[in-house]
Each structure stands twice: as C-alpha cells, then as structure tokens.
C-alpha cells in the first residue's frame, strides 16, 4: 500500500517531468543514468544576420530552424502563426524582400541579408496599416488565427497586381491584370480560413485597393 509520503514523492516527479514514466526514471541513481546516456552531440548551428521590421538581427541557430520558428521562438515575434507547418495553410505568410512566402518552408539561415516584414512590422494597434484597418472595418476574421498571414498576403497581392504579375484567372496574358474579386480570390487561395471569413476578407482588400469590385 502506498504511504502518503511515497505518493507525494511520485506526484512531484510527475509534475516536474510532465509524464508518468519520469517518476520511475528518477529512481535510477544519478551517476548510473549519466554513464548510460552518451553525451548528446550538439546539433550543428550557423549564424545569420537579417533585418526584421527595420531592425537588424543576428542569430546563431540550429540549422534546422525555419524562418517561422526563428521569428516566433527566438525573436518572440508571435504575430506570425504556425498553422500546418507544411506550406498548405498560409498562416505563416511573411514578406521577404517585398515578396510573400511561407515562413515555415524556408530555413532561417538561408535569409542572410534579407529584409523581413511580419504583421508586427506592417502596423501597430495605435498606427495600423490600411489593410489591418480594413480587416477590422470589414470583420475580415473570426478567431483571428489566420489573420496575420491573410493580411501579409493581401498587402503583397496588391503589389503583385500592380507589378503586372499574371494569375490563373488573368484572361489576357498580354495585358495588366486588374483588381477584381475573381483575381483576389484566386491570388489569396494559399491562405486558408477555417472560420470562413473569405467574403469579408475580399471586401477588406478591395476597399484598400480603392476599387468597387
């Protein structure tokens, strides 16, 4: 039968380790455990310097670190969200050297010298970017998790149309694409919204573009 003291000891082990099995492991004398575990080889790291929202940053990172994790875990810019972590949902969209990309599918160490803009760099609660303002005005979100990616994508989409980049729905490849709902829906298809705020998102973008679509 378990005495109150034993119970207390086990409970602490569970709380500290976060898993029931840890309580058993803690019974192994420390010296034995150390001898049985080969010294873990530190994973390779590399240095990278880039600019985030106008501020120069230097990091030494495990080479495996995605740009998304560098932003969130190392620079504590948690506005950029991790959704699927496989480039399928667009929640991690940031703007690098003027182009929107999935920050989950790129290594931080590959961005030496790049200029990165996250949702925090577009605007602040006191001084919102026009696109952030329009998302609020048009209720372009519900839970808000995909919103930073949607807004970064939307800002870049308007620049892409302005630059004449064609899309799947552009009828004439010889002409400049126009800001229409059809164009915006196609261009925003890499940003998934589980709450289904799509129509309000398109309203917000057309508002910023200054067109009645």
């Amino acid at each position: 039968m378990q005495t109150p003291e034993e119970y207390e000891l086990s409970r602490r082990g569970v709380l500290v380790g976060g898993a029931a099995s840890v309580a058993t492991v803690t019974l192994v004398p420390i010296g034995t455990a150390a001898a049985a575990t080969p010294a873990a080889k530190a994973p390779p790291t590399a240095k990278v310097a880039f600019e985030v929202n106008g501020t120069a940053r230097e990091l030494e990172l495990d080479t495996r670190t995605s740009l998304l994790d560098a932003l969130r875990e190392h620079l504590h810019l948690t506005g950029t969200k991790k959704g699927c972590d496989h480039g399928q949902c667009g929640a991690c969209t940031v703007i690098v050297d003027g182009r929107r990309i999935n920050s989950c599918l790129t290594l931080a160490v590959m961005h030496e010298g790049d200029k990165i803009t996250t949702i925090e760099g577009l605007g602040t609660p006191d001084k919102m970017h026009a696109m952030q303002d329009a998302f609020v005005t048009h209720d372009g979100y519900q839970c808000g998790y995909c919103t930073p990616g949607q807004i970064c994508s939307a800002v870049a989409v308007l620049d892409e149309i302005k630059a004449g980049i064609p899309s799947h729905v552009t009828a004439d490849l010889g002409a400049a694409p126009a800001v229409t709902k059809v164009e915006l829906r196609e261009r925003m298809s890499g940003n998934i919204c589980r709450c289904g705020a799509y129509s309000n998102i398109i309203d917000a973008i057309t508002d910023v573009a200054g067109v009645k679509a």
Partner: protein, 316 residues
C-alpha cells in the same frame, strides 16, 4: 527533422565541388518541397548546399531564337516574363495553375522539375512505399488511388509526377542543362529526363548524384494557341487530377502533353497526327496501354473530354 550541416555556395562549380566533399548532401534552392519532406524525415540529408544565390537567375535569349531559363529563376518570375507570356503562353498558364502565390515566389525552375510525388502513401511513413523505402511494397496499389497513374506505372509504383510546369516544358520540347562534379556539362531533352518506375521507383531522373541543373532551354517559339486546362478537386491551390497542355495551330495540327496521368509529363508525338480529327483518336493514342485501378479509370474519360474542350476553345 534530422540535423544537418549547412553551407552556402556562390557558383555552380562550388556547388558540385561541395557535393564531392560531402556524401549525403543535397542541393537546396527554394526548399518548398525538400524542407517539407525533411520535416517528415522522408528526406534526411546530412548536409545542405544552398545554391539559391548562385547566379543562375536570368532568362536570356538564345542564338537559336529560344530562351535559356536559369535554374534559380523563381516560378513567379518565369510566369511573369513578357517573352514567356507572349511566345510560350502555355508555360505561364501551367505555372500559375500550380501551387499558391507564396510557393511560386520561392519555388525555382529546377526545383519544380525535381519535386517529388504527392502520393499520400509516399508521405505516410507508416505505410509501405517502394519510392520512399525500396522493397517495402506499394500501399497505393489496392489502396486509395483515384489520384494515381494510368500510364507508365509498374507493379512497384503508381505515383504521378505533380508538376504543372513540366507538362508545358514537355509540350515545348525543353532541354535541361546540367553540370557534374567534373565540370562536364550536358543537355538532356525533357523527354529523356524522367525514369520509368519499373522495379526502382526511388530513381526518378537520369541525373547522376551531384549533377546540378543549371538551366532549362526552350527552342524558338512555335506560335499557335496555347491552352493549359487543369482539372482538380477545387478551383485553386490543388494538384491536378489530370491536366491537358496543348498548342494548337490554325490548321488544327499541334502538340499535347498530359499531367496527372503518369510518372512524367506524358506526351506521345505519334498520337498528335490525329489532332485535326478531334479528341478521341488523340486520347486513344496518348493513353494506349493504359492500366487503371478500381478508382482511377475515370481519368481516361476525363482526358478525352478535357482535350475535346481544349480543342473547341482553340478553334474559338
């Protein structure tokens, strides 16, 4: 993800030399497919050679009147180039039918050609897959396979090649320029670039280990009406069930390549002679010897009907 060492190189020669020094290395450029596969440990290179800043990012006219597209040219930039839009519209149409805006901003020309299948069993490391783990079997044969190949497949693998761009490149008779570790360059016609799965579906192209793609060249424009018709489960941002890439001339002759039906962009030049007679004889020629599963026989009908639609559209 397995840990790896990393280096950035600034020339193709430095890239191939780095590969020679580091067995187990992979080149990385856009990384949108490779990193995804590394997260799942389907790819586990011990060293990455970053070639994204190698100066192979230009689109240049060739003396023959065609274009040389640098291996590092991003999908967005290739699709947007005015020469491509004017003379190789099929290529722009195929590119913008693929992936999302974010991915096209990162994905490169060479990487697009080398992307791996999206067969769900290739991605599911709990399932047998001869492409991922040679000799382990194929879970797609007899499994959920409505997305899978109807031509060119083997008893070991029925995966399809996922690229839209490659379908256009095949119809346009592109050639893939490479350089190997010894500095030897060669040009591979895209028709000869992909290997049939046979018993070795893990070997996907004729590239030797460490051989680097430097460019893709297009012969001089052939004119005609360029149409890329992709059929998919949703209107945007999905892989093809099937795709038809066609160049149709005023007299009804032309070229056709298919996506979503085999391990490579599928073209049968001999079948194209039937183009003036309509879709059926062409589809019959393209899909001769097709072997369907319990779930993907619809692709044969879908190819014929989509091609009929494309030919009607080309007539205007």
């Amino acid at each position: 993800m397995k840990s790896f060492t990393y280096e950035r190189v600034d020339s193709a020669a430095a890239a191939t030399a780095a590969f020679a020094r580091t067995p187990g290395a992979r080149f990385i450029a856009g990384g949108t497919n490779l990193l995804d596969l590394m997260k799942l440990e389907i790819e586990a290179p011990s060293h990455l050679i970053d070639v994204s800043r190698v100066a192979l990012d230009k689109i240049e006219a060739t003396p023959e009147g065609g274009l040389r597209i640098g291996a590092m040219v991003r999908n967005t930039d290739l699709a947007s180039d005015m020469r491509v839009r004017r003379d190789y519209g099929l290529l722009t149409r195929a590119l913008v039918a693929g992936a999302s805006g974010q991915l096209r901003n990162k994905a490169t020309t060479a990487g697009n050609l080398l992307q791996r299948t999206r067969c769900p069993y290739f991605y599911d490391t709990n399932q047998p897959c001869n492409k991922r783990k040679p000799g382990s079997g194929c879970a797609a044969i007899g499994g959920f396979n409505r997305l899978h190949a109807v031509v060119g497949a083997s008893d070991a693998c029925i995966a399809t090649h996922p690229s839209d761009m490659a379908v256009a490149m095949r119809a346009l008779d592109a050639a893939i320029e490479t350089v190997d570790a010894a500095g030897k360059a060669r040009a591979i016609p895209i028709a000869d670039f992909y290997r049939a799965p046979g018993k070795t579906p893990h070997l996907e192209t004729v590239l030797a280990p460490g051989e680097l793609i430097t460019a893709v060249t297009l012969p001089k424009p052939v004119g005609g009406t360029h149409i890329y018709q992709k059929v998919r489960d949703r209107a945007s941002y999905a892989f093809a069930l099937i795709a038809v890439g066609a160049i149709v001339q005023r007299d009804g002759t032309g070229r056709v390549a298919l996506g979503g039906v085999g391990y490579k962009p599928w073209r049968v030049e001999a079948a194209e002679a039937a183009l003036p007679r309509g879709a059926k004889p062409v589809a019959d020629g393209l899909l001769a010897g097709a072997k369907t599963t319990h779930e993907n026989a619809y692709k044969l009908t879908l190819v014929e009907r989509t091609l009929a639609g494309v030919l009607a559209q080309a007539k205007g």
